[in-house]
Amino acid sequence: MDLFFDAAVQAARLLLSRDPYVAEILVLSLRISGIAVLLGMMAGMPVGIAVALARFPGRDAVVAMIHTGFALPPVVVGLFVYMLLSRQGPLGGLELVFTPTAMLLAQVIIAAPYVAGISLAAVQAVPPDVRLQARALGAGPARALWTHVREAWLGLGAAVVAGFGSIFSEVGAVMMVGGNIQGETRVLTTAIVLEARRGHFAIALALGMIVLAIAFTVNLLLTRLQQGERARTSGAPGPPVPAAAWVE
């Protein structure tokens, strides 16, 4: 147990002293995952909402495809992006391998299906009568639709949080396309792998604690929102999704 205790004490010291190495990795992680989840939201949320509201032939296949995206192993996404950007790949000329941009691209591909799938569930969970009620009060079709989507905003928030969770704690894809270069592409998860392998347990643990703390904070925020907003009369409870599905 000494190993754990010593590592924990040193980790706390590192965190409190605002170690520049740790700070640099943290900032890069937040920046890449933050931008990636925003882009993933811009791509995934409209798709999820549209599929939730629309009825068209082949809809089931589209829903299944979105759900398959959930199960996409990040390391496979990494492989795909790596091949795409590698020198022999179709986008090799851009020379993006081992850059933050490559990591961003991989993370967007991982996050978008999450955001789409959970948005879909959230919008679908709103009773269709909400739209009819809006129209029965004189709203036009567009306003009624917007009213329906607005009722799902907690679920849509959960979609973004889950999307963030899916990439922030992910290691396989960023390792493959980023290369874990210090000061350039080293993020929390890849740094944990490296430092643990070097036997620097204290720093690895410190980084791990940061990942956990951020995960906890984001989920706490969402839980607080959900508890305060338990819709009793609107007939639109939040969808039955976890605040965030943290995947490895």
């Binding site: 009819l132 009620q133 809006a134 129209r135 029965a136 009060l137 306003r143 607005r150 009369t233």
Partner: protein, 280 residues
């Protein structure tokens, strides 16, 4: 007091247009209205009229097609056959002009995220009413239902009875010509229900030209309506005043639905000491 229809055995509309050759067309009229889901014919109405000044109840058991009829008449859903006339003009589902003159109160209050005030102002925002007028009308609607103190309350903090009042205030704030009510008292407990029913009777008469009430509850129909249309398996089996339905039920089904023990006091005579109207 508020039992307007119950006060007289054959109640007349409070703003009845009068009869004779010069009578204007009904506010709303359905002809040959049909709606199928798959092979099932859910609604099959040969003729139904909503007249100026009246409250018409559509009374029937669950599964009779009432809610589908509600959506068809509110122009929320396309019919498979027949037509709907609004003041003699044929209108289709989605007709913006006609829909702006109607408002619907659903069985579940279906309040939108936000405060009571925002909900009550919803229909006015949809009509792009000026901010000032909106504030005035919201205030007025809240006062009508005695819920002014809830204006700033988030909707998820309301009780079931309060939510139903907000839902009614939200519809009345648009000053609808025709008000549609789908089982407005079904979700309320018995004490709240009686008071809500009284307010409903008073407000609907004072604030709208005509109202259509969908209900499975004979008490709602007999206390609120001037005329009652009994619906069974998607068809209207009899239309008449409450008195006519009791005295001359057209079918055993209507008779079963208007049995003395189901009806409120003035119709059963229990409050006046008189024997039940039909069959002592």
């Amino acid at each position: 007091m508020n039992r307007h229809p119950a006060a007289s055995p054959s109640p007349a509309g409070h703003r009845s247009a009068g009869d004779g050759a010069t009578a204007p067309p009904p506010v709303l009229r359905a002809e040959g209205l049909r709606r199928r889901y798959g092979a099932r014919l859910i609604v099959d109405i040969s003729e139904l009229e909503l007249r100026s000044g009246e409250i018409l109840a559509v009374l029937g058991p669950n599964g009779a097609g009432k809610s589908t009829l509600f959506r068809l008449l509110l122009l929320l859903e396309r019919a498979d056959g027949g037509r709907i006339l609004y003041h003699g003009r044929e209108v289709r589902a989605g007709d913006r002009d006609a829909m702006r003159r109607m408002a619907g109160v659903f069985q579940r209050p279906l309040l939108f995220r936000g405060t009571v005030e925002q909900n009550v102002g919803y229909g006015l925002r949809a009509r792009r009413t000026s901010r000032r007028e909106r504030a005035e009308r919201v205030e007025e609607a809240l006062a009508l239902l005695g819920i002014d103190h809830l204006a700033r309350a988030p909707v998820q903090t309301l009780s079931g009875g309060e939510a139903q009042r907000v839902s009614l205030a939200r519809a009345l704030a648009t000053r609808p010509e025709i008000l549609f009510l789908d089982e407005p008292t079904a979700n309320l407990d018995i004490l709240v229900r009686r008071r809500f029913r009284e307010d409903l009777a008073r407000l609907v008469r004072a604030r709208t030209r005509a109202a259509l009430l969908i209900t499975h509850d004979p008490v709602d129909a007999f206390t609120l309506a001037d005329r009652i249309a009994v619906i069974h398996s998607g068809r209207i089996v009899q239309v008449g005043s409450p008195g006519e339905l009791i005295d001359r039920p057209a079918t055993p089904f209507v008779e079963a639905f208007t049995r003395a023990d189901l009806l409120p006091a003035p119709w059963t005579g229990t409050s006046t000491g008189a024997p039940p109207t039909r069959r002592p």
